[in-house]
């Protein structure tokens, strides 16, 4: 659960109960489990309005055969990056998720599919799933892949996407991983043409005593963007200017200034982010420079309990446009988990 107060420059602040999540699990046996997660986003759901969302984020069965090989089927989280599978508010610094985990990795990213997962050796874990693809018709210049999620709702499954992650967790405090996602996302267009999308991501997370370091880098390539932009432009009247390459990443350092006190823990952090959803354009298209963004985020978290986080941060956002100003913002959030 988390609610936020966001105050960008030049506009009034906004209070939002961003996520209310109910997690349901059931154990049929030692080998068969169910996991379900239902989320109400932005507190209020109204039909056909731009209000909140009621989302079924996870609903899958795990068939646990052995440590090395298990099968998962249903609506499940994509195993990409640091945040998507590990998104409980107390486990990451900052009120809002990093830009890269919003535009390039569209967290919370979930689709219907089937796949295998397991652990081999001393700390090598893998996941490999076949799922419904992203919908390229909804890609945008500003938000990249974000609006392309089909979210398990009457999804087009004519061309399945493949996603996989390999990570090493064998050293205490260290988690490193690489993720890939590949799919053909042009299924909405008639006559049909392919929009191949490839995402590659690498990340590392290290914690030692009070220190926590994180790094993540993502590159996305979208094929056939001239046809995609043209087809969407003819449909809605606005050319979306989708780039053929997008990329982004961040570096973050956090330190628990107070740890183990009776009243809880206090941590401070700094994060540098870079996200460019217009990195490389097809011939004949110019990048919109306001979407080549960098940000410094500084802030603190107070944990009165390990499962409750009171967070604030100040975000200094910059872009490469000479005419459009990127606003700084002050953000406050309270998140908890049980």
């Amino acid at each position: 659960m988390e609610f936020h107060y966001n105050k960008p420059e030049f506009v009034d602040g906004e209070l939002d109960f961003h996520r209310f999540v109910l997690l349901v699990t059931h154990r049929y046996s030692d080998r068969i489990r169910f996991v379900g997660e239902l989320e109400v986003a932005h507190a209020f759901v109204e039909g056909l309005e731009e209000a909140g969302e009621l989302e079924l984020e996870q609903a899958y069965l795990d068939f646990l055969f052995s440590r090395g090989l298990n099968i998962r089927a249903g609506l499940m989280l994509m195993p990409v990056g640091i945040i998507n599978e590990r998104h409980e508010p107390p486990v990451f610094y900052g009120v809002e998720r990093p830009l890269v985990d919003t535009a390039l990795i569209p967290t919370t990213w979930f689709e219907i599919g089937v796949g295998v997962h397991g652990e081999v050796g001393r700390g090598w874990r893998y996941r490999a799933f076949l799922t419904a693809p992203l919908d390229a018709e909804r890609f945008t210049a500003e938000d990249g892949l974000r609006d392309g999620r089909q979210k398990g709702s009457r999804t087009n499954a004519g061309r399945l996407a493949a996603t996989a992650r390999l990570e090493y967790v064998g050293t205490p405090g260290l988690t490193t991983g690489v993720s890939v996602w590949t799919g053909r996302s042009g299924f909405q267009f008639r006559p049909r043409f392919d929009v191949p999308v490839h995402l590659i991501e690498a990340d590392a997370r290290y914690s030692f005593d009070r220190l926590e370091l994180r790094a993540e880098a993502v590159q996305v390539s979208v094929g056939n963007t001239p046809d995609l932009n043209d087809a969407v432009g003819r449909t809605i009247g606005i050319d979306p200017n989708v780039a053929k390459t997008m990329r982004g990443g961040y570096l973050e350092a956090g330190y628990r200034v107070v740890s183990g006190a009776r009243f809880g823990d206090i941590g401070a952090f700094v994060r540098y982010e870079s996200v460019d959803t217009q990195h490389r354009m097809a011939d004949g298209y110019l990048p919109l420079r306001e979407f080549d963004r960098t940000a410094w985020v500084v802030g603190a978290t107070y944990w009165p309990d390990a499962d409750i986080a009171l967070k604030f941060d100040y975000t200094m956002l910059r872009n490469r446009s000479v005419s459009i100003v990127a606003p700084n913002s002050f953000n406050l959030g309270l998140g908890w988990w049980f």
Binding site: D62, V169, T176, S207, A217, G249, T294
Partner: protein
């Protein structure tokens, strides 16, 4: 600045990947268990580290579990072992396990801890003496 950022990003990830020891920590932990009888396992969403522990039949295994975040559980499937691992800052819990037959004993988190809870598993490999 932008070029430096990407260089730092790549080098952090590459160097982190390079820190994985060839034998892995679990092997070291298993070796150490003869000299140091306590196996220390760290629990965090959604990992036990080490997730593989080796021992021999009849050896008393003292396992100390500590959480880096929320409450977790530690259950060895097929045995009576099932304890709660207190949340960060609330101490640790110790489990004694003395296997009498060789085999692979799967352990798992038995306290729902988040979206990736069912990933949180490990194994104790018990070899004959």
């Amino acid at each position: 600045m932008r070029r430096s950022f990407w260089l730092v990003c790549v080098s952090v990830v590459v160097s982190a990947l390079g820190t994985a020891p060839p034998g892995g920590l679990a092997a070291q932990q298993g070796t150490e268990s003869k000299a140091e009888p306590v196996v220390r396992i760290r629990a965090e969403r959604f990992t036990f580290t080490p997730s593989e522990v080796r021992t021999t039949v009849g050896t008393r295994l003292d396992i100390e579990l500590k959480s880096d975040d929320t409450v977790h559980g530690f259950r060895i499937i097929g045995t009576d072992v099932n304890v709660e691992v207190p949340k960060r800052g609330k101490g640790s819990v110790r489990v004694v396990f003395t296997p009498t037959t060789p085999g692979r004993y799967t352990f798992e988190c038995s306290h729902t801890c988040g979206a990736g809870h069912s990933f949180m598993r490990g194994v104790i490999i018990v070899e004959a003496k």
